[in-house]
Every structure is written in structure tokens, then in C-alpha cells.
């Protein structure tokens, strides 16, 4: 790897200060950043380690309100009894990111800040109308995810937590790329007082998005059968060596069916 300066922050304020240095990047679990630095897709001159900041650790659930601090690992979310109690779909999602070793390091804040178009968490946060909390403000998921690897975060702004009201029902299903385990298409469905939101990851040309076709069908009847015959336009979907846009369009409907079946238990 190229030469870099490593700084460990003890508090959020200290991290914000360190990130003011030109060309500094925040390092959380490092599961994306370190591989990206090895290939020089990213080449910050300073990395600021957020993993040892106590305020960025832990999960709180009061009633149906769940708050997950940014440096909480995927393994911790997957194993959380509090989260499982009100939103088991999120535990299921976290338990299927990468592999066990990656889940021990990778964090929810890192995943959300990176906004990889095939990452799992963005779909959950968008479908559940979560709020992304930073050291400066609260940002609604609807305003947060801006496109491929693009978010509403400003230079040096640090995600401190994500928070959401658990929906009445939720489910997540993904078709993982067999090599990378990233979603080739993943759909998170959330139902809240009769309203359904369905967010799709891994398929959109411009990152995570909501599927109007799936939402309309499921708002009529929250049942896999309601998706029979529904078709999603392939126009704005990704095509690559793994799957064509048309194949992904079909996968959206199939994954949505599975996600609803899971939500209905």
C-alpha cells in the first residue's frame, strides 16, 4: 500500500478536527476503504480511525425506536436482541453482509457513508424512512442517498448514528453475487400503517431507489401473490457482466416476493 498517515480519534470532536486536514478520510471498519486504498481507487493522505470512539458504539431501542451508533459492526447488529425484538429483518440483512470476518469489522456508519450501489443497509434505511444523524445535523434517508457513492454528507461531516421507528412489518431478500456477496439485487420492504415502501439496492443505475411498481402492488395487498405479473422497467437499471438490466428487473420482483414472504413470517 502507498504511504499514508494514520490518526486515531478518541472523541467525535477530535475526529472532526483531524478530518479538517486536507485530503483526510474517515476510517471505520475499513472493509471498503482499505481494499480501495490498496488498489488506489481511494488515496487519502491521512486516515482518521473512528472505531475507538466510545460515543460511536452501541445499540439503543426504546419501544419501537431503534438507534444504532455508527461504529456498530454488522455482527453486532445481526446478534442484537433489541433489534431482533422489533425489526428482525435488519438482523437478517446484517447477518448476510460479506462474510463472518468482514462482519466483525464492517460498520453500519461506514456502509451508509460509502453508499455503494450494491450495499445492503441503504435499502433498509430508505425503506424504513430512517434518519442519518451526523455531528452536524439529522438527515432523512430520502435526502441522504444521492447516487453512486454519493451522499448528502459534507466534507468532514461524520455519521454518528442511524435511527428509525421500526415498521409494523419488514423483510429483506437479496440475490448475492456469488463471488463478492454484494447484492446483485436486493429489496427491502417495510409496511407501516398500511403504507408500503420498497427500496432496491444492487440494481439501480444511480444507486438505491424505491420501486413504485412494487409499492403500488403491495399497498393493495401485502402478499407475494400481489406481485404476480408486476413488471419493473429495465430502463434505469444496471447492466454488467453479472446481469443485464432486464435480468435485474425480474430479480426485483422475485426478491420483493421473498422479502414480503419473510415479513409475513
Amino acid at each position: 500500500m502507498y504511504s499514508v498517515s494514520y490518526q486515531r480519534a478518541g472523541t467525535i470532536a477530535e475526529a472532526a478536527k483531524l478530518l479538517e486536514a486536507g485530503d483526510a478520510a474517515a476510517l471505520s471498519g475499513g472493509m471498503t476503504l482499505i481494499p480501495a486504498m490498496k488498489t488506489r481507487l481511494s488515496a487519502p493522505s491521512t486516515i482518521v480511525d473512528l472505531r475507538h470512539i466510545p460515543a460511536l458504539k452501541g445499540i439503543r431501542a426504546t419501544g419501537r425506536r431503534v438507534t444504532i451508533a455508527a461504529a456498530t459492526t454488522h455482527a453486532e447488529v445481526a446478534a442484537s436482541a433489541e433489534v431482533k425484538g422489533v425489526c428482525p429483518a435488519l438482523c437478517h440483512l446484517a447477518a448476510h453482509i460479506g462474510d463472518p470476518h468482514v462482519r466483525h469489522m464492517g460498520t453500519i456508519g461506514g456502509s451508509v457513508a460509502n453508499n455503494d450501489p450494491a450495499a445492503d443497509y441503504p435499502a433498509a434505511l430508505l425503506a424504513m424512512e430512517a434518519t442519518i444523524v451526523t455531528n452536524k445535523r439529522d438527515i432523512a434517508a430520502d435526502q441522504f442517498f444521492k447516487g453512486l457513492f454519493e451522499t448528502a454528507l459534507e466534507e468532514g461531516e461524520i455519521i454518528t448514528a442511524v435511527t428509525f421507528e421500526a415498521p409494523d412489518q419488514a423483510g429483506y431478500a437479496k440475490f448475492p453475487n456469488p463471488a463478492s456477496r454484494y447484492a446483485m439485487t436486493g429489496v427491502f420492504v417495510a409496511r407501516r400503517s398500511g403504507q408500503v415502501r420498497a427500496a432496491v439496492t444492487g440494481a439501480g443505475d444511480d444507486g438505491v431507489f424505491r420501486s413504485a411498481e412494487v409499492e403500488t402492488a403491495l399497498s393493495r395487498s401485502f402478499d407475494p401473490a400481489a406481485l404476480q405479473g408486476v413488471s419493473v422497467p429495465a430502463g434505469n437499471l444496471m447492466g454488467d457482466i453479472h446481469a443485464s438490466p432486464e435480468y435485474r428487473a425480474n430479480l426485483i420482483v422475485v426478491m420483493a416476493k421473498r422479502a414480503v414472504a419473510q415479513a409475513n413470517g
Partner: protein, 165 residues
Amino acid sequence: MSDVSLVVNGKAVRGTVEDRTLLVQFLRENLGLTGTHVGCDTSQCGACVVHVDGKAVKSCTMLAAQASGSTVVTIEGLAEGSELHPVQAAFRDNHGLQCGFCTPGMIMAAVDMIGRHPAGLDEPTVRAELEGNICRCTGYHNIVKAILAASQTMAAGGGAASRAA
């Protein structure tokens, strides 16, 4: 440069390393613990798996500086003198290795997996849990057998099983 200090296999170690030094490089090159392998250097293969603060991680995807202050266990830290750890013994008994390149990572992953499943393991769980470990020789079959056998021995309190790894 960063000063790093860790406890590795029960011994306190220190070193001054370039910030870019990966944990696996520090273990292999500074400490001479060459049991931890580098297969891919891209977070795919799991040959580099070690335990950091009790959790299996890929040491090719962590800086030594990130790990400073942590407790690390490598494959060299499992056996008690000449007595193999039950997972090592199970790999030998079940022919769970051929060339052996993936084996240190497989065994560290297995010890972690068994620890996280105190109620026991079944074959589909073991196969799913091996997602992050690639073997080019065995076809996995005997690795899975070895892990299942070790999990049973350890549940029964056999070998040096009760020892935290």
C-alpha cells in the same frame, strides 16, 4: 510511523512501523509469525484470518496501527506445547487439509465459529460460515467434517477445549 503495542498469543509485543503496515505484515515480518498466510491480499480468501480481541478478522484488511492496543491470537497461539488445539487435531484426523495453505485461516475461522455457536453446528451452518475462506484443494468436504467433529469434541469438553482460544 506509528508505535504499536499488542498482546500476541499471550505475549506483549511492541514495534514502530510505517502507518501503512498491514496487521498481517506486522505479524509475519516483524514478529516472524509466518503461520498466518496471505493468499489474495484482497479480503477474499481468509488465509490471513486471526483473532483480534476475540473476533476473527482478515489481517490483510487491517492496519497494524488499527490493531494497536488489541489482543491478537494467531494459529501459533492455539496449541498447548505439543498438544494440538481440538480444531487442529480434528483437521488432522479428518484429513481437512491437502497443501495446507488455507489451513491456518480455516482453523482460526473454525475456532471463532465454534465459539459463536455454543449450541452446536450443523453442516449448512458450517458451510455458510465458511463464506470468507477459500480452499483450492480439498473441495471443503473434509474441512466441514473436521469442524463438525471439533465442535462436538469441544462441546463435550474434550482436548484442551475449555481453554479460550
